[in-house]
Symmetry: D2
């Protein structure tokens, strides 16, 4: 992750793009890149997305890369460590969705309260 953060910082600085990369704009770019993953899956069945052909997977790997780049940059810009934020959120989610209550069910947590 440290390498990735510094590679991104160098990429932005060399292009003098920080001026365009407000958190607002980065969040928009992040949503656009996620939509490029969704586009690959929209007409496939769930089963097909569990068994993707290698060419398709190679394309999706690139989109995952783009999402990860923007997410890392956005987090950095806000002074957030994305890995630590995810670990902390997983603890919160564990409390919101106790295994004893939700095991094998997919409802939104508010439906359990």
């Amino acid at each position: 992750m440290e390498d990735l953060r510094s590679n991104i910082a160098a990429f932005i600085e060399e292009r003098d793009w920080d001026q365009f990369h407000s958190p607002k704009n980065l969040a928009m770019a992040l949503s656009v890149e996620v939509a490029e993953i969704v586009e690959h899956f929209q007409w496939l069945t769930e089963e097909q997305t569990r068994n993707l052909p290698p060419e398709k997977l190679a394309e999706i790997r690139e989109e995952i890369g783009d999402v990860m780049i923007y997410l890392t940059e956005l987090a950095e810009k806000l002074g957030v460590d994305s890995v630590e934020a995810a670990k902390a959120k997983l603890v919160i989610n564990s409390q919101k969705y106790p295994a004893s209550l939700v095991k094998g069910k997919a409802s939104k947590y508010t439906e359990y309260q």
Copy 2:
């Protein structure tokens, strides 16, 4: 990152949620979590998003956590290392947007070709 990956795997297994977590569904969930970040920014100016108050930032940190969780889980499920995918994509992006050509400009790369 390794810790995060194994924490996520344990969270899913304890809840028996793998049956719902096809790549298709995870991509949808990822897009929903990104929208929760976008929602925080939609009526703010770019400048305001560069200077968020601490309470707002704490909320956004949680959303970043959720996005990171789903992105990590989706990548894992597809056998993709998200950090390596991001590094590789940054190399591709460097070639698509040569610094000499795009410095200080924000156009889409196709407009340079």
Copy 3:
């Protein structure tokens, strides 16, 4: 549609919200409202989304309303008639995806060229 357009214009004017409703911000809000529809469907099977219970449908109807409001407002702001734009785009799509070529198939049109 004409009624809807004038109801929206009155709603915005009474609240003096035009200052926040740049096309950029409206596009963000539109994406957030669409995500609220996606959220209802993310853990359901395709079959389940074809047979929704009435309470769920009532909630989704509200989200469709919000998407339609923002789409109508965004189009208006850009001087675009959304119904005419859709009809014109359907003609373009008919040429991109000739029925003789794509019947019963779901691939992206570039895969046919």
Copy 4:
């Protein structure tokens, strides 16, 4: 709107695409088309999106068309009249955000309660 609805129905039937057009998949496609609008705006200032050059506007008009097509089809499939749903939601929104309370302010309604 009636013309548009019947044009869409004919387009789908000629291609035998109803099998792929579950509400779940249509919601994904809708989110992807909205992202194509967002992509046009992500690096522009709010001011620039209020003053788009004609070529750019022509491209965005096509994306608005696609969003309208999927929204109309999704609503139809769920038995929802999108125009009526928008009017009804506007009444709800008027109560959630009383003009006397929110005039000239952009906060989310929960912040007023």
